[in-house]
Symmetry: C2
Subunit: 350 residues, 2 copies
């Protein structure tokens, strides 16, 4: 084994500052970054300390990528689609309209070549990005008025995350990119007509149900939002190997942890919201189909203009086409039968 | 920080022997145990070495729990339902008929109180059990003849994992508990009429399609099989804190890793199997319903006889009833719409 002095040298004290894109009030999504920090601490005997700051404390929520690139902060915890304005390719590190669910994006990232291909994208930006948390399929958001047809989207000022805004713009939506903590006041004042965030538990905390009654699903633009832990590449490269391994494990740990937490806290939150008067509505099929076709148009246009976007999009598309038929077999029939039995039992109980 | 001698003491060399219940030929499920070992090694700078032995190398596949309890081995990697013959309560550390899917069991274990309640069960057996891998929803297995009605199950000698055997026995099945590596010869010789293992990728390796043409789904008894890493409690308690943390993270890592791997390798394997002539069949609704009712009967009977089983079953049931309605909303409508669009596109392409 290593001699003692070598070991001491191998475990220096390191302190990093982490800029989160999420408000501290959200123990789920902000908590994912804190979970990374907690596990890194445990895995390095307290030597590698990451302090996570809430959105806006060090840099604005939507400036996290720039801050990590430039080294203003050592690291960040974010949703990569916040930066599609810089380059739409960011979306593939997060989620995209009619893309993957939680299982599918993890399979693509970890065993479908996703992380390798994204490394090429992040390298010139001086960022090392690791998957670190996931929300699962999200809700479609809170609307002041009902959406019955695709025409009802026209002129709608809608706070919506990432690349989905570009899709919805094709249908006449005026998309707004607003950080989590700033959405409620905009919706309350009527600056926007509708807003989506994540799902029942977070949305309830942010209070959207108090100012917009219609709660639509699904969030077809976020079938399984992968959260990302960004490290500044020079700082990352300077870490001892053990700390790099600790960070990798901590991030994977955050993915299981965050998904499990969302899946435990969302069901009772949805029940509470509906009990308090939220009007739960599926997007009508014609609305879903119009959005689906608009998304495919946008993918084609963006691919024509951006070769790396095209390469990664085609890569995800091939994986998705090969993968969906399997998910329809055992996974979907197991779930569907359980839903059916539960409905029948509820009907019998009246 | 710690002085160098304290650190050297804090990172002693430790070697453990791990008995897997799975054959080495299965890089997915046996690989989950190896992944734990690999991550532990990386997280302890090579100091904590776990060597994973294939089923039967140290102890028989179905003797892993006893071996860990008695300290014959330091640790094991297994599916807890192999031991339902000792106590049916083991099933809640693995999967059970019409139970949870992958997301739901993780939510219950990590944020629904599952791991706490299971600790009480394992403690008297001298076992520390950690979730370490998952298969997702499994297939229903390979049958020599078609299953058209519940009556077709009568007299069927079926290799089936865990508690599901007791359910199927109510419908006249003669269940067989046979370790993975021994199934093929039994099916080939006609000692059994049908066999289920996991899903397309593993099943193809084990060669079942060569001797039984009908491939049924879903495996309603395994909606998301949680694999377990068992540590002998005295050996676990003697580990330095850092190594305990490394083991915990490595096991969680194995859950993401194994699920991602299955989800990447199963789709092409299913395509190959169908291409080679496998007859894919859903279990008919009346068969599913008969099994569902038989399962509920068995839960009631077992609960009446076994207070801890009852306590844990009721706990899972309450969590399931509260959770399913949420999964039907965003998650299920997102997936279903994507399946529908894919079907329409395939039809258009002809």
């Amino acid at each position: 084994g290593l001699a003692a002095p070598a070991l001491a040298q191998a475990m220096p004290e390191i302190r990093w500052r982490c800029a989160s894109s999420f408000p501290k009030s959200l123990d789920t999504i902000f908590g994912a970054g804190e979970h990374v920090a907690k596990r890194v601490l445990a895995l390095t005997d307290g030597k590698f300390q990451i302090r996570v700051f809430g959105a806006g404390e060090l840099v604005p929520a939507l400036e996290v990528a720039n801050a990590v690139t430039g080294g203003t902060v050592d690291c960040g915890h974010t949703a990569s689609y916040y930066f599609v304005g810089k380059d739409p390719t960011f979306t593939f590190d997060a989620t995209w309209p009619f893309g993957f669910n939680f299982r599918q994006i993890n399979a693509w990232l970890e065993h479908g070549g996703g992380r390798q291909i994204l490394r090429e994208f992040f390298e010139p930006m001086n960022i090392v990005s690791m998957p670190a948390g996931n929300t699962g399929a999200q809700m479609g958001g809170w609307f002041r008025r009902e959406i019955r047809t695709p025409e009802d989207l026209r002129g709608l000022k809608f706070r919506v995350g990432g690349f989905a805004g570009n899709v919805l713009a094709k249908l006449g939506v005026v998309p707004q990119q607003i950080a989590g903590g700033d959405i409620y006041p905009a919706l309350e004042r009527g600056t926007i007509d509708a807003a989506e965030w994540v799902g029942p538990y977070d949305d309830e905390k942010l209070g959207f149900n108090r100012v917009a009654p219609y709660y639509y699903y699904p969030g077809w633009w976020e079938g399984g939002l992968n959260l990302s832990f960004y490290s500044n590449k020079q700082r990352y490269d300077a870490l001892p190997t053990l700390y790099k391994e600790a960070l990798e494990s901590a991030c994977r740990d955050a993915t299981i942890e965050t998904m499990a937490k969302y899946d435990a806290v969302n069901p009772p939150a949805l029940r509470r919201l509906v009990g308090a008067g939220a009007q739960l509505r599926p997007f009508p099929r014609p609305v879903m189909e119009a959005c689906y076709h608009a998304a495919n148009e946008l993918y084609a246009e963006t691919s024509a203009a951006n070769p790396l976007f095209k390469r990664i999009y085609d890569h995800t598309k091939a994986f998705r086409e090969a993968t969906l038929p399997w998910f329809r077999v055992a996974e979907n029939t197991f779930d569907s039968f359980n839903y059916l039995m539960q409905s029948q039992e509820q009907q019998r109980r009246g």
